[in-house]
């Protein structure tokens, strides 16, 4: 029975070999144990003995041709056997210790995913993994955590910092002390009760130099967070501004009427919110956001009303105004604003807005420009009512000057999402609504 002789694997590290010399010719008798052929291995020339007796039927590899080990080199058998057939039928084996073949396209089982990290909107905050877990488990929004001074490794915010000392927190609230300004005497500057007490009594102010210091506080915490956010908004979104004036005669009369009729006190803000919602429904392009290279347009009109809180601007949001009545909005706004002023809003209550209104009318300002509240696309600023001389044109086209109670409104838009035409249309529509206030409720 003819046998295929292969290039032998002789060495531990040998992957290839070449015949250096045949000691037999085709047709010669081969005896077991005699030198058969010499092989160049990676290290030396080795004489290979025949392991079987027979006749050399075929030489399949000439000298000095390098081949992988286990490649056929000859056929030994009985005279007359079909060497070619035997060779053809031979399957070249792979060495049992061959390297694993790379298969980069193989679809491995998905590796078990590590538990989802709590979403962090706040890349600026240095939170320990434990702190993040705590926040996730207790629905604490990042901006809340921003108010905390970190005492952890490299100043990071630890779980304990977030919890702080419950006693300290409570007392701080009552005493109206800003925890950020209370120096901590606990381990690693943790704020303890004693620190709160001390902070409630302000230290004497430093005097000296040309400028007398009246207040010296670190720019950090909520103020810094808000400040950073607004900076980011202003520097990222190309703001475009549109201004108009609203004749508030009808608005004032309307408000007086519904207040008398219902017995509830409706604020101008309530009407502004309703008007904005209606306008956003008519011009949904303004009720949009640019998120991850996508412009998303919402059907919910979630209107934020900017409020001056203790630490800066807070914007509580009335959600889904499009589904609410004026009285709903009024009640909700009243509650939200009150709590916003005292810092008692939950995270859900100051997030998720699609449009904001900043009404500084009560402070008597003539005109001002607001910065868009990211990730929203626009913000409406509302100034105070001032008696202003205006030109009125009657039906015949005759112009007269009259004194009207005019209120400036300004729309700031993100020009990446909203262009001039849309902004103009939107603002004019708001003006129309405010000058014909019954239409707000229709």
């Amino acid at each position: 029975m003819a046998k295929v002789i292969v290039m032998p694997k002789l060495g531990y590290t040998q992957d290839e070999g070449a015949i250096a010399q045949w000691h037999k010719k085709v047709g010669d008798a081969v005896t077991k144990g005699e030198p058969f052929f010499d092989v160049h291995t990676d290290k030396s020339v080795v004489t290979v003995e025949a392991s079987k007796s027979g006749t050399l039927l075929k030489i399949a590899l000439e000298p000095n041709v390098t081949v992988p080990v286990l490649t056929p080199v000859a056929v030994v058998g009985n005279p007359g056997e079909d060497a070619d057939a035997v060779l053809a039928a031979h399957v070249t084996a792979t060495s049992v210790d061959a390297d694993v073949t790379a298969d980069f396209d193989r679809k491995d089982e998905a590796s078990p995913s590590i538990q989802d990290a709590p979403a962090a909107e706040i890349a600026d905050l240095k939170l320990t993994p434990r702190a993040k877990t705590y926040m996730k488990n207790n629905n604490i929004d990042p901006p809340s955590a921003a108010a905390i001074q970190g005492t952890g490794f490299q100043g990071g915010i630890t779980e304990r910092d977030i919890k702080a000392s419950p006693l300290a927190r409570k007392i701080a609230q009552t005493a109206g002390v800003d925890l950020n300004h209370a120096a901590g005497s606990g381990a690693n500057n943790k704020i303890m009760k004693a620190d709160i007490d001390r902070a409630a009594t302000p230290a004497p102010l430093p005097v000296g130099g040309d400028k007398i210091v009246s207040l010296d506080v670190p720019y950090k915490g909520v103020r810094k967070i808000i400040g950073d956010r607004l900076s980011k908004s202003k520097f990222t979104a190309p703001h475009l501004y549109f201004t108009d004036s609203v004749d508030t005669t009808s608005l004032t009369a309307f408000r007086k009427m519904i207040n008398e009729t219902s017995g509830t006190k409706y604020a101008v803000s309530d009407l502004l919110i309703m008007a904005a919602s209606k306008a956003l429904r008519k011009y949904p392009g303004v009720n949009s956001a640019l998120v991850d290279e996508k412009i998303i347009t919402y059907t919910s009109t979630n209107i934020g009303m900017a409020v001056a809180g203790d630490n800066g601007l807070v914007v509580p949001v009335v959600k889904n105004v499009q589904q609410k009545s004026l009285s709903d909005v009024a009640a909700e706004t009243r509650d939200l604003v009150e709590r916003a002023k005292t810092g008692r809003l939950s995270p859900a209550e100051y997030s998720g807005g699609t449009f904001s209104i900043s009404n500084l009318g009560m402070f008597g300002i003539g005109n001002f420009t607001a910065i868009i509240n990211p990730p929203e696309a626009a913000i409406l600023s509302v100034s105070s009512v001032r008696k202003t001389p205006v030109v009125l044109t009657d039906e015949e086209g005759n112009d007269t000057i009259a004194i009207r109670p005019m209120m400036n409104i300004q729309l700031s838009v993100d020009h990446r999402i909203i262009d001039g035409l849309l902004a103009s249309q939107f603002l004019e529509y708001i003006k129309q609504l405010l000058e014909n206030p019954v239409s707000i409720l229709l």
Binding site: V6, P8, K9, L10, D42, S44, S51, L70
Partner: protein, 318 residues
């Protein structure tokens, strides 16, 4: 009378030597054909040492082997199928494929294990000797190792202790003259290694390792000495390996004339020439072994590899 052995012993000696020879040739075939991984250290040419020595001990005795250990295992009666399966890395092997050629152990036959570290098994064998003394049995341990191992620290440490405490161990140096490529004459001044026994105060013998009967008789003497509680001996068997240290070795470091001279003294041919057995008898043995070898190779080739799930098992027992 020296040289007189029973017909049964003559057959057993020849059969074991032939088995070893054929087994090793098939190991080499597997290796050349890529079916055996790792390293193959062939015993071809040294068969007389294993066969002669193992014939001199009983079933309850122990042996410790080396990286070039297939010969000792076969001579001791190990199951060649399980040996070959182990050598090919199959799960039906003695060690479920986890040990390989150099680490086969078969405690039921008193085979304490082959060892991949040169001289690494000498302490184990010595410990078995201590254990026999401790337990008060008359078990003897044969400790096989080479000229290379005789220069390891453990050689000195262990033979010293065995000698000091009369441990029943027979230390058999298979001196095939070369530690891979290094001629022992170049790294050892005293070429007759058994003379070291003088330093330990124990008997030492240097003999022709290719004369299976001389090996048998000398080992038997040392075994009886040990069994009688008189302690260890060193037996140096001068021999020669036909092949290189392992497969890729072309033995360029050996003198061709010397090589030819030793190969002309093939232990199997030498034994046949002594006439203990007739040609008919030797042929019958060879045929019998051939059938067995075929079955061994078939079993090993057809056996499955271990499953990935077995990887972490057998580090510890319960």
């Amino acid at each position: 009378m020296a040289g007189k052995i029973s017909p049964q012993l003559a057959e057993d000696l020849y059969r074991n030597m032939w088995k070893i020879r054929r087994f090793e040739e098939e190991v080499f075939e597997f290796y050349k054909n890529g079916k055996m991984a790792g390293l193959a250290h062939l015993y071809i040419g040294e068969e007389a040492v294993a066969a002669g020595a193992c014939a001199a001990i009983n079933a309850q005795d122990y042996i410790a082997s080396t990286h070039r250990g297939h010969g000792h295992l076969v001579a001791r009666g190990a199951d060649m199928k399980r040996m070959m399966a182990e050598i090919l890395g199959k799960r039906t092997g003695y060690s479920k494929g986890k040990g390989g050629s150099m680490h086969i152990m078969a405690m039921d036959l008193g085979i304490l294990g082959a060892n991949g570290i040169v001289g690494g098994g000498i302490p184990t064998a010595t410990g078995a000797g201590y254990s026999a003394k401790y337990r008060g049995t008359d078990q003897v341990t044969l400790c096989f190792f080479g000229d290379g191992a005789s220069n390891q620290g453990t050689f000195h440490e262990c033979i010293n202790m065995a000698a000091a405490w009369d441990l029943p161990v027979v230390y058999i140096i298979e001196n095939n003259r070369f530690g891979i490529s290094v001629d022992s004459h170049r790294v050892t001044r005293e070429h007759d290694l058994s003379k070291r026994a003088i330093g330990y105060g124990i008997p030492g013998y240097t003999i022709d390792g290719n004369d299976v009967v001389q090996v048998y008789e000398t080992v038997l003497k040392a075994v009886e000495h040990a069994r009688a509680g008189k302690g260890p001996s060193i037996i140096e068997c001068k021999t020669w390996r036909h092949h290189g240290h392992n497969g890729a070795d072309n033995c360029a470091y050996r003198d061709k004339g010397e090589d030819a001279a030793w190969k002309a003294r093939d232990p199997l041919a030498l034994f046949k020439a002594k006439g203990y057995l007739t040609d008919v008898q030797t042929k019958a043995i060879e045929d019998e072994v051939e059938t067995e070898i075929e079955e061994v190779c078939q079993f090993a080739e057809e056996s499955p590899f271990p499953d990935a799930s077995e990887l972490m098992e057998d580090i510890f027992v319960d």
